[in-house]
Symmetry: C2
Subunit: 427 residues, 2 copies
């Protein structure tokens, strides 16, 4: 296929007329498809239903250590669940605290606590004139919402194919003591799907922060969320690397089973150094007596161990792979060579990140919406909802069926083409 | 029985010798009893076990409105659970937000958010020179820990038999704009067991706070936690009274099922005005995508409605009444008339509050501990752990069996007597 930019004005006009016909036809279909949020599909939720039988009225409700999960206690989680989550996140059990159903909530609390009470004894961030976070872009909108809410200045860091631009990260972190954190989704990144290379992880671990209270917010959301059985990404263990580099307290790792079992009824965890945990403890034990231990027990007994969890994740992969392929095949067959968009084929995670011709993303999302296909808002993958290039669109393929995803993607590519031609024609 | 204060020195010495004999005998028993924390006993947890069968792998997981509880969504809770909790807390469904498993966590978050971001647009409390909370005493140690953690100055307000000293509350709230909140457990108060009279609730609702961001933290922890079937306290509805008084935004009400179903695996809620909810929403929806809706569904289907929940609470009452009676009967038979301690016979809640002779509480707790009977630390019911009279001791009768409670209380009264005599003898 010929690149659009190499087409004559007449050729573009002709092409446009044909696409507009297609658009009209699609308008008549009254579609209602949503590929906006990274929600598991119904078939995925179904595979965790047996977990709901694991604990019933006949169950022994005691932990391995004999504690009654129905009563107060165990503020940091029950042992068997800490072990499971530690294995999932590749951390040590003693470095893991199990929290509620949401790792986002732990991240919010962690930023909030740092704002109000400081980090391991540092000046509370709210007392400082300026607090900045580095935000690899495109990134996760809900991360950016947290830092925006607290008035933290966000600085865009471009994402390369092996992770964030580490020259820029080092420049900021090692020289500017108002830079207090960075948001990272290191594996199957949201939304680009890329995983950080060993070199990038090592450079992170070897940062020499100007601020003693600088922390890496390492959102290990997709640590076991592969799409394929044979091609899987592995990333270096940041906790170990930070320890080796003499920066043991520099990282908070977050994880959850929200996309392993049930979104909203999973368990979440934070993994960090012993010293950080000791500091967190005084706040966490004032905040809550303990999290839902019955649900922790349910998870621990359902999976038994990390192998059980990994077997479970293979079932998820089977279910979501056709959806990713439906999108990717359509993008390949319809857009390859046109030079009006690029995308990365992810090996895991929940998203496909699409970069349209600059200045086209909002138009594409609006056109799709008019046809009943809902995408994440253009700009959402950038701090303040502002994509300076108006280019990035996050596609979330997991919630619809593969057939629906194929249909939705056909609408999507139609809109991508139309938006590109309008742009090229200067409309 | 003759009051100790009316005994001669010789009589006291003789009495003491006998009590010391008893103490030695008790030492040999190697007891291990805990009446420190308000934890449900095993028999209470057992009555909620059938709730674990309500949701299983065959269940329809959709809410009444058709939402899938297994997926993301419904940040403020599912309708049927909001209705249940609203009925329990005597609030309107639309004024209720369901949160996680812990109302303490909502209270912590609410104070934390006010510190960092203010209240409905007010100056964040952390930016003020001084923030004060009124603390009716004796009160709940975990409330005081929250305000202590955030550096909020706590002011003791004496508790009367019908609630806090409202003259003092009005004096502070209506004149001092650094007074931003008050901790209340209005029904079956922790630890005194008293309930606020209608007059007290009305005076609360009709406060004219000097600070526009003053809030009443109304911890309705024991709203349905009666001990008797025939004698039950009712309190006026603070939300309605505040609305009538033109102070609709002045109160946050908190509640949970931690002592209805499972401690740690219940659901919690906040009830407050529409305007407050709209303000909270921007923070809560950034903090979390949604709470555990499967557990909400489990609760809603198990109880069906408020009548189901109230029937369930009768079973709790049956189980804890003998424990309360074991304590109260022993206190009556052993201490009545000695004038070395006073206590209130509660009609609900989880505690019996005991006021020893001033200067004796620490000694009593220490003596009990030495005999293997653990009580809440003396002073814990006061801000900063400091009971100026060293008098109040909180007894939590629910966790042990009635037989154990009787045995523990016998030890307790022995230690009360010994401490009093030591005090009277000037030792």
């Amino acid at each position: 296929m010929k690149a659009y930019k190499d087409l004559s004005r007449d050729e573009l006009v002709t092409l446009k007329a044909g696409l507009e016909e297609e658009y009209k036809t699609a308008e008549g279909k009254g579609l209602s498809l949503n590929m906006a949020r990274g929600k598991p599909g119904a078939s995925q939720l179904a595979i965790s239903m047996p977990m709901l039988d694991v604990i019933n009225s006949e169950s022994d409700m005691r932990t391995e250590l004999g504690n009654d999960t129905r009563n107060y206690g165990d503020w940091d989680g029950i042992g068997e669940c800490r072990r499971l989550m530690a294995d999932m996140m590749e951390a040590k059990k003693d470095n893991v605290i199990i929290c509620g159903n949401s790792s986002l909530n732990i991240m919010y609390d962690t930023v909030c606590r740092s704002m109000l009470m400081g980090v391991n004894g540092s000046t509370p961030w709210c007392k400082l004139d300026k607090v900045k976070f580095l935000c690899p872009v495109p990134g996760y909108d809900r991360h950016f919402k947290i830092t925006e809410l607290f008035g933290i200045e966000m600085i865009n860091i471009p994402m390369n194919e092996d992770g964030p631009d580490m020259d820029m990260v080092e420049e900021y972190v090692n020289n500017d003591d108002s830079v207090k954190g960075i948001w990272c989704v290191p594996k199957y990144s949201n939304p680009t799907g890329i995983s950080y290379s060993d070199k990038v992880v090592k450079r992170f671990a070897n940062l020499k922060p100007a601020a003693g209270d600088f922390r890496i917010f390492w959102d290990n959301a997709y640590c076991v969320h592969h799409i394929y059985e044979d091609i899987q990404d592995e990333i270096l263990n940041i906790l170990e690397e930070c320890e080796k580099a003499g920066n043991p307290n520099m990282v908070y790792m977050f994880g959850s089973t929200s996309k392993v079992t049930f979104s909203g009824s999973g368990v979440s965890a934070i993994a960090t150094s012993h010293e950080n945990i000791e500091y967190l403890k005084q706040f966490m034990t004032t905040q809550i007596i303990g999290h839902d231990k019955i649900n922790q027990l349910r998870h621990a007994r359902f999976f038994k161990d990390i192998d059980g969890l990994k077997t479970h994740m293979k079932k998820h992969a089977e279910l979501i792979r056709p959806k990713f392929e439906a999108v990717l095949n359509t993008l390949d067959s319809e857009l390859m060579g046109l030079e009006i968009g690029s995308w990365v084929k992810p090996r895991g995670g929940y998203f496909i990140s699409f970069d349209a011709m600059p200045g086209c993303a909002k138009s594409i999302v609006a056109k799709c919406k008019a046809l009943g296909v809902v995408l994440t808002d253009a700009g959402a993958t950038y701090p303040y909802g502002n994509d300076p290039e108006d280019s990035n669109i996050r596609i979330a393929p997991t919630f619809p069926t593969p057939e629906e995803m194929e249909e939705a993607t056909k609408i999507f590519v139609l809109c991508v083409k139309l938006a590109a031609i309008e742009k090229l024609l200067g409309e």
